[in-house]
């Protein structure tokens, strides 16, 4: 097994000619996709177009069928790579939050710090508190996930990912499972992260967020990237008929 030597000066995410099959079903049909350091790239497109699959390939929750993926200069599609090490540098936020329900909020934030990063108790608790404060939930450290609202759970999930001090964050429809009135809190936290210079790949239906925060918008349909570019430009003047019809439905 090779230890990945990740470099901050290399592109954060560099996906080339990516194909992914589930059985006979070709879900990604040759994707080229790039995220530079400090960039916020939003991925939009109809349900089933392969957005989640692309995002999950970037931290190898799905195994690509062919093609290469480089993360900070390291080829993670190399079968010999230490996947756990790479993943600890990539924060991931899920639509369904996936907090650990048997652990307190504090423990949710410290367990991987201690088990993976081998941080001591005090250091990990300090880092956890800092990140809880950042998402506005400092007072919830002793609560259990079941006692939080959806918006609070998602903010805890973001704080959990941040506590590993990742180089980049992947978001898979982070606000789609939330009641409308709770969406703003989560988007606010993500906006703040973007302003701090975090590299982010965000699958979302929040076009307002994409326009305001995104550096690039990528439109996917049927397993291919149909168009990409400056969010305001793509939203104002989509080139493809399919992009137009999708945008007319979500805007």
């Amino acid at each position: 097994m090779t230890e990945p030597e990740m470099r901050r000066d290399a592109p954060a995410i560099d996906v080339n000619e990516l194909h992914k099959y589930f059985g006979d079903n070709e879900v990604l049909k040759g994707i080229d996709f790039h995220v530079n350091n400090g960039e916020v790239v939003c991925v939009v497109g109809p349900s089933g177009s392969g957005k989640s699959t692309l995002l999950r390939c970037v931290n190898l929750l799905e195994q690509p069928t062919s093609g290469t993926i480089f993360v900070e200069g390291v080829e993670i599609t190399d079968p010999d790579i230490n996947v756990d090490k790479v993943r600890s540098k990539i924060g991931m936020v899920f639509q369904q939050f996936n907090l650990f329900p048997h652990l307190s909020v504090m423990r949710n934030l410290t367990i991987a710090q201690q088990r993976v990063k081998k941080r001591g108790k005090e250091e990990s608790v300090d880092i956890a508190r800092r990140n809880l404060a950042k998402v506005g939930l400092a007072e919830k450290e002793d609560a259990f996930p079941a006692h939080l609202s959806g918006g609070q759970m998602q903010r805890v999930a973001i704080a959990r990912a941040l506590s590993m001090e990742p180089d980049m964050m992947l978001f898979d429809e982070p606000t789609s499972a939330l009641d409308p009135e709770l969406v703003g809190d989560v988007l606010g936290v993500m906006k703040e992260l973007a302003h701090e210079g975090m590299t982010m790949m965000v699958v979302t239906h929040e076009m307002g967020f994409a326009r305001e925060v995104g550096d690039k918008l990528v439109f996917m349909d049927g397993g291919v990237i149909l168009e990409e570019g400056d969010p305001a430009a793509v939203l104002a003047d989509p080139q493809h008929e399919r992009t137009r019809s999708f945008l007319s439905k979500v805007l």
């Binding site: 929750l61 991931m92 899920f94 996936n98 048997h102 993976v116 990063k117 079941a146």
Partner: protein, 263 residues
């Protein structure tokens, strides 16, 4: 005269209660109470059983059961993880062990460990009676618990493993810290039921030829029964078993009710 369905149900229930009451009354009148009491609840014999029925028999039953359950739980967890492994031989081995110990009566397993092992391999189980009970009864329990635990692990949402992996945990670390603890919560009620079954199955150690000091409830009751030629010791023993199993049953029902409410 037409009755509403509700009224008819009421009448029908009333008739049923009446019949039950009648049966009880007849039994009370017909029964020879003096004989029953002297045969089943002789106070003198009952007092004679004290304190050994608690200090030896109940204690040994608890000890054998606890040891076998603990051993079975550990082996059961291992078998469950092997059953879910991506490595073929692990899966096949676990399946074989589980099917064997589920399919063979506990009695036969006991005999095999006590008498078969020395003949086949020239070895005796270490740890004497406690050692043999722990392993023989433990393996029987493990075979059942393995399937329960496996189902529990599979009932933990896939997103839990994914979240743990995305934080950089290895597969086994994620299993140990995230998935298995949640699985145990799910299967706590069936595991407790298994504990109840093991409590009763621990009576099979009589096969091992127990001394007075190592006798558990059933052996103790049988000896006393032979001595007194009276059913009272068995009543005492039954009471002791219920002392263990009824609280466990109540605990199971509570857990199930709580799980039901949480859904």
């Amino acid at each position: 005269m037409a009755m509403s369905p509700r009224k008819r149900a009421q009448v029908s229930r009333g008739v049923q209660y009446g019949i039950m009451l009648l049966i009880v009354v007849v039994l009370l009148v017909v029964a020879d109470w003096e004989l029953i009491l002297s045969q089943f609840l002789d106070t003198e014999i009952l007092l004679d059983l004290m304190p050994e029925i608690f200090t030896t028999a109940l204690k040994n039953t608890l000890l054998y059961t606890a040891a076998a359950f603990t051993f079975g739980l550990i082996v059961g967890l291992l078998l469950a993880l092997m059953r879910l492994s991506s490595v073929g031989p692990y899966r096949w081995l676990a399946t074989g062990v589980i099917e064997f110990f589920r399919g063979v009566p506990a009695l036969v397993v006991f005999i095999a460990f006590q008498f078969g092992l020395p003949i086949a391999f020239g070895v005796v189980m270490p740890g004497g009676i406690l050692g043999t009970v722990t392993v023989a009864l433990g393996l029987v329990g493990a075979a059942y618990m393995a399937e329960t635990i496996r189902a529990g692990i599979q009932a933990v949402p896939k997103g839990q493993m994914e979240a743990a992996r995305s934080l950089g945990m290895s597969h086994s670390r994620a299993m140990i810290s995230i998935v298995v603890p949640q699985a145990f919560r799910i299967v706590l009620p069936p595991l407790t039921n298994e504990l109840i079954l093991l409590t009763k199955d621990s009576s099979l150690v009589y096969l091992l030829g127990l001394s007075a000091a190592s006798a558990e409830l059933t052996k103790f009751g049988r000896d006393a029964l032979n001595e007194t030629v009276n059913m009272t010791p068995l009543i005492g023993v039954a009471f002791c078993y219920l002392l263990i199993t009824v609280p466990l049953s109540i605990a199971v029902r509570r857990m199930e009710a709580r799980a039901e409410k949480a859904r």
